[in-house]
Amino acid sequence: MIATIWAWLSDPTNWAGAGGIPAQSLEHLRLSLIALLAAALVAVPIGLYVGHTGRGRVVLVNVVSAFRAIPSLGVLFIAALLLLPHLRGNLAFELPSLIVLAVLGIPPILSGVYAGIEQVDPAARDAARGMGMTGWQRLWQVEVPCALPLICSGLRSSMMQIIATATIAAVVGLGGLGRFLIDGQANRKYDEMAGGAILVALLALVVDIVFSLVQRAVVSPGLASRGRT
């Protein structure tokens, strides 16, 4: 079995062309990054607001856990069937998939941002206030930098979930590494299926390493030793 998977992974014909491994990996990454961006655009402002003001905490915690329970595949079918009549071309398949992935990516970012801001050392907050900083200044110059390790880990775990789940985009005919899983199963090419699964795991790993390097670069060295998990 391992030999046939390796044979599939190392076959040059599987690396060439529009349906090849590099092209599908890039497509997978493209869909995942757009979804992450969309999720962050929603989750970061809400997380910052709740963390900074302390308002709506109970609602947020409940919404986050409710979001985690949404079944992705079901939402994908509903979204695809509802949106298909209203959109032209590939967008009709891409938008439903992105919605599903973004919805999936919101909870980890939201809880990361909110928890990060909320757990900033009260002494640092008081000091900033004592120096006469406004609310915005305190948020951007003290709270966000202090919360960065947790914000980053929220983004990273969101990205992991999105990459793993982006395979379902293949169900509605989109590209990405999910193609190998769905097509492999339909055509009973289990080496292709297993190879695709390994590639998804590898892609997730590589992306996480890249993100961790970015995190190391942006987080203040003073926090790095303390905040890293």
Binding site: F77, A80, L81, L84, P85, L87, R88, G89, N90, A92, F93, A170, V171, V172, G173, R179, I182, D183, Q185, A186, N187, K189
Partner: protein, 303 residues
């Protein structure tokens, strides 16, 4: 009453199972070994069916027609896939089941090659073991087909798959993911008809997504089974298959040889003579919200 009961279950299971059992696919993956225990008295003819709505409807039609002919029948519907109900025919727990010529031939003889209706029927009769008999086949077929919208057909003057050739490079074909490698799919369309579509879009989840994508123009041609109610509902045009890429799948009664009587033969041949893809499709539309037994009764009364 067990018959009522099983037809309700059929309705619930319906859509998901359509793909697994009919059409050019061959052996479905699932090993649904519902035991085919026959009901009824010693002499009653037990009619079985596969586990998808169209086959259940056909079994109900056989049951109604045979009942009218004075044959004592019981039904044991929704048994499972071909592997399961063929075992039932072997051990005598069912005696009669509606079948499809192409797939049954392939089941009995893996090297079967015929694709045209009459030839497939001849090959089927050669492949059948002594203890099984097929009666006359119907004109009705449930098989893979390539369909386009009526607008597309009109615009390019399409009536057969061959007509697609000059337009295929500008068209997107949609179908189940297994069409990518299966000969009766993209490779066959290319080899037999020389069609080079600009893209093949694999669409999962039965025919629902394919139908929607076709209606909304995300794909220009799609693979749908020829008895799918969506064809009539959306006024799709089923393109003819002059080269017989897709093997014929005429509906045919498969019966245990020692159970055949002249009354049974006459009654079932009468059904087959009137069953067409068109009226079967119309009945499939009705089955969506009516008991298959009632739809079958109405059809048999009209014979």
């Amino acid at each position: 009453m067990t018959r009522r009961h099983s037809t309700t279950v059929v309705a619930a299971l319906a859509t998901a199972l359509v793909l697994s059992a009919c059409g050019g696919g061959g052996d479905p993956l699932q090993e649904d070994d519902a035991p085919a225990t026959g009901g009824g008295g010693e002499s009653a003819l037990v009619i079985g069916s596969a586990n998808f709505p169209e086959n259940v409807l056909l079994a109900e039609i056989y049951a109604a027609a045979l009942g009218d002919a004075g044959v004592e029948v019981t039904t044991n519907l929704n048994i499972g896939n071909r592997e399961a109900y063929m075992a039932g025919l072997e051990d005598g727990s069912i005696d009669l089941i509606p079948e499809y010529t192409g797939n049954l031939t392939l089941f009995l003889n893996e090297s079967a090659e015929a694709t045209e209706s009459e030839e497939v029927y001849a090959e089927l009769q050669e492949s059948l073991p002594e203890n099984l008999t097929v009666l006359d086949m119907a004109a009705a077929e449930d098989k893979d087909s390539v369909v386009v919208t009526s607008e597309t057909a009109e615009e390019f003057g399409l009536s057969t798959i061959a007509d697609l050739k000059p337009h295929a490079p500008n068209m997107v074909l949609g179908g189940p993911p297994e069409w990518r490698d299966r000969f009766t799919g993209v490779p066959g369309l290319q080899e037999v008809y020389g069609l080079e579509f600009s893209e093949f879009k694999p669409l999962d989840a039965g025919s629902t997504l394919t139908v929607q994508a076709l209606v909304n123009g995300q794909i220009d041609a799609g693979n749908i089974f020829s008895t799918d109610p969506a064809i009539a509902e959306n006024e799709f045009v089923v393109l003819e298959d002059p080269e017989h890429l897709f093997a014929a799948q005429n509906v045919v009664p498969l019966i245990a040889t020692d159970k055949v009587t002249p009354e049974i033969e006459t009654a079932l041949n009468e059904v087959s003579a009137s069953l067409t893809t068109e009226n079967l499709t119309e009945m499939m539309v009705k089955v969506q919200d009516t008991d298959p037994a009632d739809v079958a009764r109405e059809f048999v009364d009209g014979l």
